[in-house]
């Protein structure tokens, strides 16, 4: 997370604090918002790129990103919570993986394209221990939807592809799982740490002057989320 994102998160927290209502003892709040950092680590596995004039072994990798995280939670029962979570769409960088050069054009390790993604998840979490416990671990499962947009081929990507390239990445719907720990700090405030894994698979299509190259990318994102929650 860069400084600017930290500041954004801080401002969001301050705004929420200003409008805070009291944490009513013995009367559990039904709603909670969380804000924090979303640290996304990819273990991307893609098929080698196919299409005309593609030498063997041309592949891609995806760089890890950190982005502000936000979530809304709704208490369903003492042990069940519904969670709608998303990150501020970050710019993800795809890097070339394979030969050091294609012809004389640098490839391996070059940032060949960038994409933003909007990736909301809806989960149901089972929260262990009593509701007034300071530390409550939880497990959750749900559905993730990922849509890629603002896809851009970089100058290095255009050079490797052989010209200006229009990129498409299909949207993905897949399961998401989470394991986390809630620490009730004080009154309405809690801190959260969680580890999420999701299945995000997408079909890549690159169009360079009518020459179409394709691959299938399994992003395999695992995310570490550190957040602060405010219940109301």
């Amino acid at each position: 997370m860069n400084n600017r994102n930290m500041i954004t998160a801080g401002v969001a927290l301050a705004v929420l604090s200003a409008g805070a209502s009291a944490w009513a003892a013995g009367n559990m709040a039904n709603n909670e918002v969380r804000v924090g950092a979303y640290i996304v680590m990819y273990d991307a596995k893609a098929d080698d790129l196919t299409g005309p004039y593609v030498p063997p072994g041309v592949n891609v990798d995806v760089k890890n990103v950190t982005t502000p995280y936000f979530a809304y939670l709704r208490r369903l029962s003492p042990h069940f919570v519904a969670q709608l979570a998303a990150g501020v769409p970050p710019k993800t960088e795809t890097v070339g993986k394979g030969p050091a050069t294609l012809g004389s054009v640098p490839f391996n390790g070059q940032v060949v394209s960038t994409a933003k993604w909007f990736s909301p998840s809806i989960l149901v979490n089972y929260v262990f221990r009593d509701e007034d416990a300071a530390l409550r671990p939880y497990l959750g499962a749900g559905v993730n939807y990922t849509r890629f947009y603002d896809l851009k081929s970089t100058a290095a990507g255009d050079a490797a592809n052989g010209g200006p390239t229009a990129i498409k990445l299909s949207s993905s719907t897949g399961p998401v799982f989470t394991a986390g720990l809630r620490w009730h700090i004080k009154d309405n405030w809690s801190a959260y740490a969680s580890y999420d894994v999701a299945k995000v698979n997408s079909d890549y299509v690159g169009d360079t002057a009518g020459v179409i190259r394709k691959t299938h990318i399994k992003f395999n994102p695992s995310t570490l989320v550190l957040s602060v929650g405010y219940a109301f």
Binding site: P55, Y149, L151, G162, G163, P164, G210
Partner: protein
């Protein structure tokens, strides 16, 4: 205006999920089908290699190493761009739009000879049976002609525009207008127009057109190069110089020589390419393919070439005979003159007799009846180049429609106004040098064009004739190319000789094998050495 911009901004902010046109675009696409339209701009770049990488990749194969010895080390890198453009194809009712593709090879690199304003070489390739052939695809190991022009010209600072021709690769042309001067020159000129639109738009290139235009080509492409020079000159467009190589310029005389029994290597491939081209262009070559071709071949011959099936397979599956153009039982008409012209060559004193006789057999392609009709026309309306006292004039009024098409496309129909080098090998068994290059050079001379056949005559001549076998005598500026060609022939001879001896053959058999190997590869062996001569010839005009 402001309202619209605001609306777009709002839409974008609301619909975070949609692209809102911010995705990077691919090349602009021009949907016009008018001549010279460049479809994708910038065009697709298949490969980009710097000078060192090009040298290393060529040097990785034996043929590439040999090529580099002729071309010299690359001075520039080369970007291999692959253009789609629009031109026309011929039809009996006039030109019809046709798409086509071409290589646009652009020199790259920091050296002054590799960037900035550079000359264009418009290059025409030789006969190709592979319909999928693409000169831009330098990654294809079969693309030897692409490698040759890349190393010879692009890597030495020429922007190379080399069409794949209508009827090849992605072209929607329904046939290839083989040796149709009008159609093929239009294809070349339209590729040039399209390429000029791409220059400056292509990736990472600071190379631009300096306004100089050189034209070259080999074999079929030698013919096309000359036809293109003729068409550009007629259109008043700039040509700096041209160097057509080993081409069938005097088509009528060449056709007559073949039908008289002097059968060239490759004739069973060239003949169907020619008849299909002229039939589809003019509609009058035959009413059925069986008018010309034996029944064993006539059913499939019209659409046979170019083909995605390898030529060896077409031959092994009986679609074409390998060498036998004419029936070895030659026709007897009762007319002694005709019968002598139709007889199988038998002159024991002509070293080419065994070669010519390879063109005769019982698996023959062309019917005796058609051969008689052609030869009768050629005897009654002779081509001046084949007369005992040659005049080099075209026949006055031929009536055989194939022969008429040859006359219509024979390049004894123009006179160059800028320098031309015609290079070839005097003993070429595929495209005969004397009946083509020498014929048109004498015809030009008869029209008052100064022709150099010796080095001393070059400075005062518009046309230079270079036979790699004979050279140009004292002060020959092409001596290196001639020497290289002699060495290459010697190596081919020796390799075949040695392998025959190694297999237990005696010296006579080894000698025969060596000579045969030279004949077999002669036409392709000439290409890099004439190309080197062409580059040397062009270099005197560079920057002028």
């Amino acid at each position: 205006m402001k309202t619209l911009a605001l609306r777009i901004a709002l839409l974008c902010s609301v619909a975070v999920l949609t692209a809102c046109g911010s995705d990077t675009p691919t090349s602009a696409v021009d949907n016009s089908t008018t001549r010279g339209t460049l479809v994708e701009n910038p065009p697709f770049r298949i490969a980009s290699v710097d000078a060192m990488t090009l040298a290393a990749e060529l040097g990785a194969s034996a043929s590439g190493t040999q090529l580099l010895q002729v071309t010299g080390a690359p001075a520039c890198g080369v970007d291999f761009n692959y253009m789609h453009y629009y031109t026309v194809n011929a039809s009996p009712t006039g030109d019809v739009p046709a798409s086509a593709s071409a290589a646009l090879m652009i020199p790259t690199g920091a050296a002054p000879a590799c960037s900035g304003p550079r000359p264009i070489l418009l290059y025409a390739h030789g006969t190709q049976t592979d319909k999928a052939a693409n000169l831009a695809d330098i990654t294809d190991p079969n693309n030897s002609e692409g490698a040759l022009i890349a190393a010879m010209f692009a890597a030495q600072g020429y922007i190379v525009v080399a069409p794949n021709y209508v009827g090849y690769d992605t072209s929607d042309g329904t046939f290839h207008p083989y040796l149709n001067a009008d159609a093929q020159s239009k294809d070349m000129i339209d590729a040039l127009t399209a390429a000029r639109k791409a220059l400056g738009k292509v990736l990472a290139s600071t190379t631009t057109d300096n306004g100089q235009l050189f034209i070259s080509g080999y074999s079929q492409g030698g013919y096309v190069a000359m036809a293109t020079h003729k068409a550009l000159q007629a259109a008043g467009m700039t040509v700096t110089a041209s160097a057509p190589m080993s081409g069938p310029y005097a088509l009528e005389a060449f056709g007559d020589a073949v039908f008289f029994g002097k059968v060239n290597l490759g004739s069973t491939i060239f003949t169907p390419l020619l008849t299909t081209s002229y039939q589809k262009s003019y509609g009058n070559i035959y009413s059925a393919t069986s008018d010309i071709f034996e029944d064993a071949y006539s059913a499939s011959i019209e659409g046979l070439l170019p083909s995605t099936t390898p030529i060896d397979t077409l031959i092994s599956t009986g679609k074409l005979p390998q060498l036998q153009l004419f029936n070895s039982t030659t026709p007897v008409t009762g007319n002694a003159t005709l019968d002598a012209l139709l007889a199988e060559p038998s002159d024991p004193n002509d070293p080419r007799t065994p070669l010519f006789r390879l063109g005769f057999g019982t698996m023959n392609l062309v019917k005796n009846s058609f051969r008689v009709a052609y030869v009768a026309d050629a005897a009654g309306q002779p081509d001046g180049a084949l007369l005992p006292q040659p005049t080099f004039q075209l026949a006055t009024a031929p009536t055989n429609t194939l022969r008429l098409a040859f006359k219509q496309n024979d390049l004894r129909s123009w006179i160059p106004q800028v320098p031309v080098l015609m290079c070839g090998g005097g003993n070429d068994p595929v495209v005969f040098f004397p009946v083509n290059t020498i014929t048109i050079s004498y015809w030009w001379e008869a029209q008052g064009v100064p022709v150099a056949r010796t080095a001393v005559a070059i400075p005062t001549s518009l046309v230079t004739v270079l036979d790699l076998e004979a050279g140009l005598g004292a002060g020959d500026p092409f001596a290196l190319a001639e020497g290289g060609f002699a060495t290459a022939k010697g190596a081919i001879y020796q390799a075949a000789y040695d392998s025959t001896v190694a297999a237990g053959g005696d010296a006579a058999a080894a000698d025969q094998a060596g000579q045969f190997a030279v004949v077999q590869s002669y036409h392709t062996t000439v290409a890099p050495f004439c190309s080197a001569a062409a580059r040397g010839f062009f270099s005197q005009f560079l920057g002028g």
